[in-house]
């Protein structure tokens, strides 16, 4: 049984993860009780500074972390990534980036999660990801 996603619970998980803390991730509740992950605009996320776009690896890490944190915060179980695919839809300028995960299926052993990322405009996606996670209790 999965619970409603809590921003406090996600932030607690982030606080215990030095890499996610270094990325600056945080969860915040938006209107309609929707919890989203936020990747802040930090210069250390830049790929090549001239165009001023965020590195693709950082965006992919953000997408995967959003999916993993969603599973861990709602199901309170471990979530080991089996595979994760990221589509970079457009260059991501240095500005706050938001992501939200949707669990497509949560079975006894595997969960499939889709993640969407955007910046100022929720309808203008900058990247999407989909991954499969092992959620076995025996991890």
């Amino acid at each position: 049984m999965t619970a409603v996603l809590s921003a406090d619970r996600v932030n607690e998980l982030v606080a215990n993860d030095p890499y996610l803390t270094a990325l600056g991730l945080r969860a915040e509740e938006q209107s309609g009780a929707v919890v989203v992950l936020v990747l802040p605009a930090l210069e250390r996320h830049l790929g090549i500074p001239e165009p001023g776009v965020v590195h693709g690896g950082v965006i992919a890490a953000f997408l995967e972390a959003t999916a993993s944190l969603h599973l861990r915060a709602t199901a309170e179980s471990a979530a080991r990534t089996v595979e994760f695919t990221s589509d970079f839809l457009r260059p991501v300028p240095l500005a706050p980036t938001y992501a939200q995960a949707v669990v497509l299926r949560h079975g006894r052993r595997f969960a499939s999660v889709r993640v969407e990322a955007w910046q100022a405009d929720r309808d203008r996606l900058v990247a999407v990801g989909v991954g499969r996670f092992l959620v076995d209790a025996g991890l």
Binding site: D17, P18, Y19, L20, T21, A22, L23, E43, R44, H45, L46, G47, I48, P49, E50, V53, V54, H55, G56, G57, V58, A60, A61, F62, E64, A65, S68, R80, T81, V82, E83, F84, T85, S86, D87, F88, P91
Partner: protein, 162 residues
Amino acid sequence: MIFAMTDRGHPVRLPEGSSLDLDMIRDVAMVSNWAHRTLGTRLLGLEANGAVLGIDLVGTASSDATEWPNGVVTSLIDHACAIAALMTLDDRARFGGSVGLRVEYIRPSRAHMPLHVRAECHHCTASVALVHAEVFHPDEPAIVVAVGRGTIAVNGVSIGTA
């Protein structure tokens, strides 16, 4: 001057026939990319269609971490795929950004061992470069920790002409 050394202490060299500037590649791999400058990524080798990158230690892992953070593995794969595509293109101006990345985690990595990635561009058209990457620990190069597939945009040709 940016300096890159292989694990055996030899300077990284351009493969025969490459017309790229070695300092430019070192800069793209280790300096201009702020995310990888922060991670401490090193350029360890170059081939006609490939590149080897590595990170010695993860500064953002807790002392009791047993594995490398997935985000570091992912980021290293993405970057190595881009450098491999650059080697194949042999032209900085045609080198675009990543448009897709897939990572499969094969087995747990070991947090306190250096992490290397070997990427090879296996197919390149006028619009995309397709790259395969393998992540491993240098002490156990045959044991693959993760594999990745990167898709890199190629500049300079209109859509539909690939």
